[in-house]
């Protein structure tokens, strides 16, 4: 079969003219509007109801648009945004400690290792303050001071306290705020909610996104939905690694289907590894659990000096312990950034110093802190985390040091979007973790919630009308259009194919294999060799999948194996692209570390001359090599510099 190579896309990021600090305001004024009485003439589809999706659906519904919102979970309240623990950043400067929009912008750009767009990041910092206002008005119970004002805490990568939080459940409370606003709109009828529906295809006609094809996960019905615009707010793809801190259902399918329809996928190799997760305990392991980064404030990380030391930790004397972060990074010690801490732990475990039965973790020891501050203080600070740790491992962290190991946590890459959050397919918008836009090669703590809500509450509701305004008077494409029929046919074929293979291996077996391959070869550190190997293995595994996977049951009822199979099938293709992207990026930056590119003492070494660009990949047909399209990053306001934490 010959596939025509699609014409090379010309990327225009649509960054507004003018000084950085005026760009967003100027742009807002220049954009076209849709008058209130005309809004109900527009249909908008939103896929995903996490922070980015729910907030956008609620806001657009409230403005008067007809919104259809979809989620695969049984309720919009369950999206994985709910699991975020730490907090949300905003440049409120309530602590009077020198914070400002400028500073949040700068911290985010630097934290992203200079691989994000200045204009986007500046806008993010700018609207961050409005997010807090909005959430408080909704009744989000943020932590308070005794006087009734909002409390803040500090977080990694910043020297100011700008993080707003609601106990250890900030993500939950923010999502519930957005969910409640969405619920109001559902009741008002402006938003039609489709829970337990999974988007399985994007419909593109004459180069525009005109609708989607979904599968009702309860009845198996394949439905066509058309609209003037489609918004994907479908989250990240960390589950490609099988073991990650993502929810089991998190997947790349919606984004990947859009990619196959022509949307460019940017920087897929940027994956964030979180250093403090509970290590794997056996092959039944289905997911990894993150322990808040704040633990590193009082815990000391160490491994025994001798790899053969099998004594329990409390019997290892201090001089036979290697506090490797304190040794290697005296200035920041246990508080080095996420990527640095993660790689250091990996190095210790790879060299055989791992602890625990499977020798796959390092100690995070609160012994010193407990004797210095007392158990009460530690309990007040981390009580809930200690409890969670004990529930999962059965060990009491007040007595035995915790065992931790890094795990995949967030993906900075995603579908390419311009300043208006529109992909290169007109009418297809992408928000939240699903797009690539704001975090560059590494995301700072407490910034994911900020980005999701900025996109959903403030950016998209301003930029979407600009696209819709030109379509006034048009009706959405008829679902009887051949484009819809073809998309539906494609979905049906895929479903039938998956059900008819009837091989010998379960979907999870393949997913685990794929995840292991990617973790080993395209995980925390990568080499040209490992990546080439990974691509080979992923390809052969993919072939095996399509000939040997076993999906029992039928399409006409709730079939969780079928759901998983479709998602894993897309993970194979994404995994291959991740490796390709990682292989082409001959530098180390943020979450992407190439062993070939490091400073003499082992730190990440960027190559700004050759790689200061966004790598956006264009699908070129199944089996063909994707095309690389570059969007150059221009730094006018900040000067890229080497990060140092010594």
């Amino acid at each position: 079969m010959t596939v025509e190579t699609p014409p090379q896309v010309d990327l225009n990021a649509q960054i507004p003219e003018g000084p950085l600090s005026d760009k967003w305001q100027n742009h807002r004024f220049k954009m076209k509007l849709v008058a209130p009485q005309n809004r109900r003439r527009f249909e908008v589809i939103i896929v995903g109801t996490g922070l980015a999706g729910a907030s956008a659906a609620a806001t657009l519904g409230e403005m008067g648009y007809n919104v259809k919102a979809f989620c695969f979970q049984d309720s919009p309240r369950r999206a994985h945004s709910i699991a975020a623990q730490g907090g949300i950043n905003a440049a409120k400067n309530y602590k009077n400690d020198g914070d400002s929009v400028e500073r949040l912008f700068y911290d985010t750009i630097k934290g992203g290792d200079y691989r994000s767009r200045e204009a986007n990041v500046y806008r993010l910092a700018e609207v961050s303050t409005q997010i807090i206002d909005q959430c408080v008005a909704q009744g989000v119970p943020f932590a308070r001071e005794y006087g009734g004002l909002l409390d803040n805490r500090s977080f990694g990568g910043a020297q100011v306290a700008r993080t707003f939080y609601a106990r250890g459940q900030t993500g939950q409370q923010l999502l519930l705020g957005a969910y409640q606003a969405l619920a109001k709109q559902i009741d008002a009828g402006t938003v039609q909610m489709y829970p337990r529906h999974e988007m399985l295809e994007l419909v593109v006609k004459d180069g525009r996104a005109v609708g989607i094809v979904t599968r009702n996960l309860v009845t198996g019905e394949i439905d066509r939905h058309s609209a003037h615009a489609v918004v994907l707010a479908t989250g990240g793809y960390g589950n490609v690694f099988y073991l990650s801190t993502n929810a089991k259902g998190s997947n790349v399918t919606a984004a990947w289907r859009a990619h196959r329809q022509g949307a460019l996928f940017a920087n897929p190799c940027y994956t964030q590894i979180h250093p403090t997760c509970i290590p794997v305990s056996g092959d039944y392991q289905s997911k990894l659990t993150l322990m808040s980064e704040s633990l590193r404030n009082d815990g000391r990380i160490w491994v025994p000096k001798s790899p053969d030391d099998t004594r329990p930790p409390d019997q290892i004397p201090d001089e036979e312990r290697d506090y490797y972060l304190e040794r290697r990074y005296p200035a920041f010690a246990n508080l080095v950034p996420r990527d640095v801490a993660s790689r250091a732990a990996k190095r210790m475990v790879d060299d055989g110093y791992g602890v625990g039965e499977l020798k796959n973790g390092v100690y995070l020891d609160f012994g010193d802190a407990i004797s210095r501050l007392g158990r009460d203080v530690i309990e007040a600070r981390y009580g809930n985390l200690f409890e969670m740790y004990e529930k999962i491992t059965g060990e009491d962290p007040y007595k035995v040091p915790m065992r931790i190991y890094p795990a995949v946590h967030y993906t900075m890459g995603g579908l390419w979007v311009d300043y208006n959050l529109m992909s290169n397919i007109p009418g297809l918008f992408v928000t939240g973790e699903a797009n690539f836009s704001d975090h560059g090669a590494n995301r700072l703590g407490a910034s994911a919630l900020m980005q999701g809500l900025a996109d959903g509450y403030f950016v998209l509701p301003a930029t979407l009308p600009n696209y819709l305004a030109d379509m006034l008077g048009t009706t959405p494409e008829s679902v009887d259009d051949p484009a819809f029929a073809a998309a539906e046919e494609e979905v049906r074929e895929r479903v039938n194919k998956l059900l008819s293979i009837n091989g010998t291996r379960s979907v999870d077996w393949f997913h685990r294999k794929l995840g292991k391959t990617l973790w080993d070869y395209c995980g925390m550190s990568r080499t040209a060799e490992s990546l080439t190997q990974a691509m080979k293995e992923v390809e052969s595994l993919q072939e095996q999948f399509w000939s040997d996977v076993r999906v029992l049951g039928d399409n006409e009822s709730l079939n969780q194996s079928l759901e998983k199979a479709g998602r894993v099938a897309d993970f194979f293709e994404l995994g291959a692209l991740m490796c390709r992207d990682a292989l082409h990026r001959e530098e180390s930056c943020g979450g992407h570390f190439r062993e070939e590119h490091k400073t003499p003492d082992g730190e990440a070494l960027r190559d700004d001359d050759n790689f200061a660009y966004v790598a956006a990949w264009q699908f070129a047909g199944a089996g063909n090599e994707p095309c690389l399209v570059k969007e150059d990053l221009n730094f006018e306001h900040v000067k890229p510099s080497q990060r140092s934490y010594k």
Partner: protein
Amino acid sequence: MQPSKSERGVRIPLLRKPGAIPGMWALEFYRSNVGKKAVMAISGIPLLLYVFVHMLGNLKLYQGAEEINAYAEWLRFIAYPGLPEGGAVWALRVVLIVSFALHIHAAVSLTIANRKARPQGYQSKREYAVASYAARTMRWSGVIVGVFVVYHILHFTTGHAHQDFIEHDVYHNMVTAFSSYPVSAVYIVANLLLGLHIYHGAWSLFQSLGWNNRRFNPWRRSFATAFAAIIVIGNISFPIAVLTGIVD
């Protein structure tokens, strides 16, 4: 026919029309389950007070025939001649009958609604984590106490169920009745069940009416326990006293 979920998304509508009948706020209120529970709690209060006073009055049994019969006489002539003979008692009875009727109607309709809300239980042996035996048996203790009250009225008020009834001779009626083991047994069992009913009900009413305050919450349980205990001990003491010959 409703369009399928796939066509119109999921929205969970209100099935009833809210605030349908203007002016009928009381009916509206009673139509809701939370309202019914409040009515149960409120109607329970006069019943609780009544059983308490009833028990106190009957303690006169220990002072002998004259005292208790005089007490009964006094009850009949409260506010006489402003009120006719038995007027005050009848006024009280009306309050009790209304309370009783509301209490039972609310209980029955809530039970029906609750059965509909969970038609199928669990097949594994259900382990209640915290619910007390009293709470779980409210319906049974309620029904049995209700039947007992009817018997009690026929027994001591109208005399239809009494072997040797002499009108206005309360002392005689009580002593002759409780001399019979089966009759005493019925009274003792019924009062134990009444105690069980009160043990949950007197606590529950605070919850149903929203009288909740962390400062006095621990007292709610103590209050209900003490109240139930006093009623039970007082009431079952009468048949026991008769049977053991303390009163004869």
